[in-house]
Symmetry: C2
Subunit: 344 residues, 2 copies
């Protein structure tokens, strides 16, 4: 690890650049019908027997802070974000593994709460799925990596790349609330991450729907396989904001997504009695709803709302438009030098 | 996380105690035919279609040190230890996922080397298996969690609990070398973990087999499915030393393992021209060979050597005996307050 003039650090290159370099080193697994780049990889080539797999990690500091996250919510969110990636392939979650590393002085009760949260999220969001194994070690901060498995019950997994011109763009789940919840936490946070101008309990009492969406999200997991059965052409879990992830789906499918601001406002402008601005819907992030495209004639399954249409995209054209105008989403990078990963 | 008189930390309770508490929180996954506690969990209930899954993490500090571990070896060892857990179920590894978290200032080249090591280990030890997905984030130290999937090609996975009185106890792989390699590194290490009285290059030149066994182990992965096909009754990956892991297999199977010191010396007393004492074989750890039991009449597959017999165990009897005498293995715990996890 000599530092010389020619070296590049991960902080300089950013997550996507680093991933591109790493992926270039890797030989494809024979059994993988879909490798890295989608919400999950797909293992197996017998239709109806495909297994999907995904992994997501939360690290104290960049991904969560103990003054904000009780163990239960941490475990819940870890399960929910991974289950959502499985659902986004049209698959039903079957099992999770947990790799947990904590400082020596961590209370056992905190780890029990993490396990309770993982378990409650599985029972609530994906009944039948559960933790089947894990690994426990020591680290200077709390690190929790979850890997989720799922089973594809229909012909093949749904990827990001199958959307066609004319398809319906639909969304299922909460939209914008999680980002507003994070803003609320930040607006009352001191530099060390502790809510101070209002206590966390006060914030919970005033805005349970915002803090719940941010700290213990409830993605519509069963709608993933239902969308697949209804003929979904493309699907993805929205984690970095509808605009940014929508542009990714459009790029993968080589199409443009035309979003309809009025439809967004109609379906998601009021959630739990709260007004949600379109900007929060587009850039809030951590929603973990399902952005899905369906053939034009599809009767959308209950839970999905049409928010736009898939259009043609020529080389150089924008991937995402709002009311006909190109919309450039701000991105985020885990290596960006900010205190906490603020999506959007 | 208030510290009160009634609280217990993970450092106080130790890994097994913490795991017992956590497992008590968890609802079983419907699809899991075998949950936590073996080398892998088993998913699926159609014989011949079972998927096994395992996860293992390496964290800078407790599990590895940058002055000793180049990125390539770190990636290799991560793959090898997980592949070995898959093989120990009698399964063929199909895919790995990688969750990697590193400090901002980490060189991209180091991550590329990790990927090269992972990939080379897959190609060499388990051709066809590869990395299918991952996650990249930031952390104060390097943390790498790998999850491995495997496919069971025969009737059912081989667990730790199927050994019967009269069975042959056999072992395949290197034995004791990895522990001797770690001792060699420690014997030349300053407090900060840097080899100083001899450089690492000098140590590699003198004892390539010891450092290779410790830093880039080569477990006999293909022998896992072969043992299963030959009728193995129980099998496990030896990671914490033959004595300690042997006692675990005996406990899980409710039998006693009678090890034969002369057989150990005959088959493993000289490896790569080096003399290996029986104590190193029993307590060295990180061997990642396959401890396997077979029915008495089995013609052992090439690569396996008989090292003992399975005997009856009454309540209170010892689980492991060497030449007829109870052998108490020293254990290790990742939360024990030592500089590096010394197995054995």
């Amino acid at each position: 690890m000599n530092k010389t003039a020619g070296t590049v650090t991960v902080g300089q290159l950013g997550e996507r650049g680093v991933l591109a370099r790493i992926l270039a080193q890797l030989t494809a697994a024979h059994a993988a019908t879909l490798g890295p780049g989608d919400d999950c990889a797909v293992i197996g080539d017998r239709p109806g027997f495909d297994t999907v797999i995904t992994t997501d990690t939360m690290i104290e500091g960049p991904d969560f802070r103990l003054p904000w996250h009780a163990g239960f919510e941490l475990g819940w969110k870890l399960a929910a974000t991974n289950l959502s990636d499985v659902a986004a392939m049209g698959a039903t979650p079957t099992a999770l593994t947990l790799s947990l590393a904590v400082p020596q002085g961590t209370e056992v009760a905190f780890l029990e709460q993490i396990a309770e949260g993982l378990d409650a999220a599985c029972r609530t969001l994906a009944p039948g799925c559960g933790v089947v194994g894990g690994d426990l070690g020591t680290a200077p901060v709390i690190m929790a990596a979850v890997t989720a498995l799922g089973q594809v019950a229909h012909e093949t997994a749904v990827t990001r790349s199958g959307a066609s011109e004319g398809d319906i763009v639909a969304y299922a789940g909460e939209l914008g609330l999680a980002g507003l919840g994070l803003s609320l936490l930040f607006s009352h946070a001191a530099d060390d991450g502790v809510a101070h101008s209002r206590t966390l309990n006060e914030l919970w009492a005033e805005h349970p729907e915002l803090l719940s969406a941010q700290l213990a999200p409830a993605p519509p997991i069963p709608l993933g396989p239902i969308a697949a059965a209804a003929g979904a052409t493309a699907m993805m879990d929205v984690s970095d904001g509808l605009a940014l992830d929508g542009a990714r789906l459009a790029r993968a499918s080589d199409v443009a997504l035309h979003l309809d601001g009025a439809a967004l406002t109609t379906h998601f402008g009021t959630q739990y009695g709260l007004e949600v601005p379109v900007t929060a819907m587009l850039e809030g992030g951590e929603d973990h709803g399902l952005l899905t495209t369906f053939p034009a004639a599809t009767a959308l399954p209950v839970g999905f709302h049409q928010i736009g249409r898939v259009g043609h995209r020529a080389a150089g054209d924008p991937e995402l438009l709002l009311n006909g105008t190109p919309y450039a989403a701000r991105g985020w990078d885990p290596f960006a030098p900010i205190a906490l990963n603020r999506r959007g």
